[in-house]
Amino acid sequence: MVLRQLRRGVVLALLFLVVCGLAYPLAETALAQGLFGYQANGSIGAGGSVLIGQTFTGPGFFHTRPDSNQPMATGGSNLGPRSAALVAQVKSQIAYWHSQGVSPTNDLVTTSGSGVDPDISPAAAYAQVPMVAKARGLSVRSLENLVASQVHGRQLGFLGSPYVNVLELNRALARLSAPGLASGAA
């Protein structure tokens, strides 16, 4: 009895391998590439993927959260809610933002779950406006309008949190500051 069932086990494992392990993902790949080629390949434009966070430095750009932004090593810090290391990290982030004249929001001083969070909250973007305005010689008003134009609301009106995609925001910023560079940068 055991041997007969073992033989069936091998046959079923092979069937699963062919149908669920090869036919299913390969058919989905063909379908995805045909219908949604841009998304299926990683939503990648000239300067990177809008879904994968990039580190922007200096006062002339809007910054992402302090993630490492290393796509080959994703994940959170895993520091617990009473971790001294977490306290030290957040303190140094707060000090950095204060040195830039920015009063940081919660998300600007904490790392994400993926380690490549491409987004910040609208409040975090507005908080950085004075810093960017000063560095670029632009008016605060024009940058606030820029941020407002980049806010993604809750999906379907009720899902998730409103956010701003930092790569999209900085692309728009580059177009605003130097119209001649827009085509090259975007």
Partner: protein
Amino acid sequence: MQAAITIAVLVIILAVAWRFLGDYLAAVYGGRVRWLAPVERLALRALGVDPTAEQDWKTYAVSLLAFSLVAIFFTYAIQRLQGFLPLNPQHLPGVTPALAFNTAVSFVTNTNWQNYAGETTMSYFTQMAALAVQMFASAAVGMAVAIALVRGLAARKRETIGNFWVDVVRGTLYVLLPIAAVAAVVFVAQGAVQTLAGPAHITDALNGVRQTIPRGPVASQEAIKQLGTNGGGFFNANGAHPFENPTPVTNFLSVVLILIIPVALTRTFGKMVGSMRQGVAILAVMTVIFAGTLAFTAVSESRGNAAVRHAGITAQASGNLVGKETRFGTFDSALYDVTSTQTSTGSVDSAADSYTPLGGLGMLSGMMLGEVSPGGVGSGLYTILLFAVLAVFIGGLMVGRTPEYLGKKIQAKEVQLATIGILVMPITVLVLTAIAVETSAGRAGPLNAGPHGFSEILYAFTSQGNNNGSAFAGLSGNTDLYNIAGGIAMLLGRFGVILPTLALAGSLAGKTPVPEGEGTFRTDSPIFGVLLTGVLLIVGGLTFFPALALGPIAEQLAAGRIWP
């Protein structure tokens, strides 16, 4: 407000799924769904199985064990040999033996505990043909066991409880594959990747950033990862990764996919035993526990992070954002992680390790109650039915009558089997946690100090012993101790429950139902729901309370204290 709408929409969708998928599942396992009959016939012919020939519980169990053994071997072998196999654009070498063993056991037992980072360890072929395959197979096996137990409850003096091979083929063909195929397309449309091309290399002219971005056949795996309550991420960041879970819509879809089969199975149960109220009673208990845990965790997370407050950010209106993604925010993250730990899924869209102490407790408690609210595909139903047998027994003790469940007399043998099925998990979890805490190799694992470090170890064995797979991921689990002890926990947590369940199914099938009498304790009444909830909370609570007191409870009570 946003949370209330989200929950309302979720309830409506699940109600529809309960109504239609519940009936559909009953029809599938009754052999009345035929739209893929030619494929089904082909598969059963290859297996040499007569679809009308049923098995007694022992043959059913032997078939299940034989298939699982072969599956472990296949999954292990593909990982070891991936260096010689196709679809390996990163030229990744074979996986090391201890890790390959742990991973093979993990995916075959529906656990999906991962002591590795997918993007730098597993080839596309391994992800597709070894890991995702078991996401289908382990889910189909879980459903088969639940259906076999329900058949045992519904039968009138029979020897047999169905045919394992037929059940697995039908569950995969008619339920898992079609739903996953549709869901995968939605994932891609929202931004999940689905390609066989290797990593993308990008340079951004704007900021000079250069990145190597890993890709792969992700969306197809994502769909079955959720639908089969598996949870294994393609990437290390799992459901937090924008390529796996790109938008709040995919986040919500994941929650729906995780819950539809376990919820619908309660209707299937009601239909098969001929009383819908019995299924509703079980569903009500599941709902109460789920809602309580969600409220507890979401409120706790909304209150912010103690370390961030200590560092100087006192106003945290957006809640605890450490380890959470901006696009999801606190509530949607808590909903996903709670759903994942109230079932056997274990995928996370936010880092569990960085949850508040009570938020982490919420996730732990879902697993410690045995994952019954609504639990994994199949495993949730059969586990809560074990508790139901125990509850009618305790009810019988109170009034001094021989207990019955669905007209079947519950006697010493049934109570023994249910008790074994219920106690295997806590014994496994607590003994292995104690061993890890007592050895220096075990104590080297945690990242965090103080009670949180203990919680990381406790969480690891609770997760593996319940075939969940989520982690307080600060723990360094890729060591011989954790790989092997974890493998044992996953095997006991799966087959240590399935075997007594099938034996119980066989024993119940052989009984003749007794007609309901004046003194029969009704198991479709609110009072039974309260009793069953009480049994679940008391068994889980009393068993695990001392361990919880050393971990999250101690951490919560040490207000203001910071550990190095």
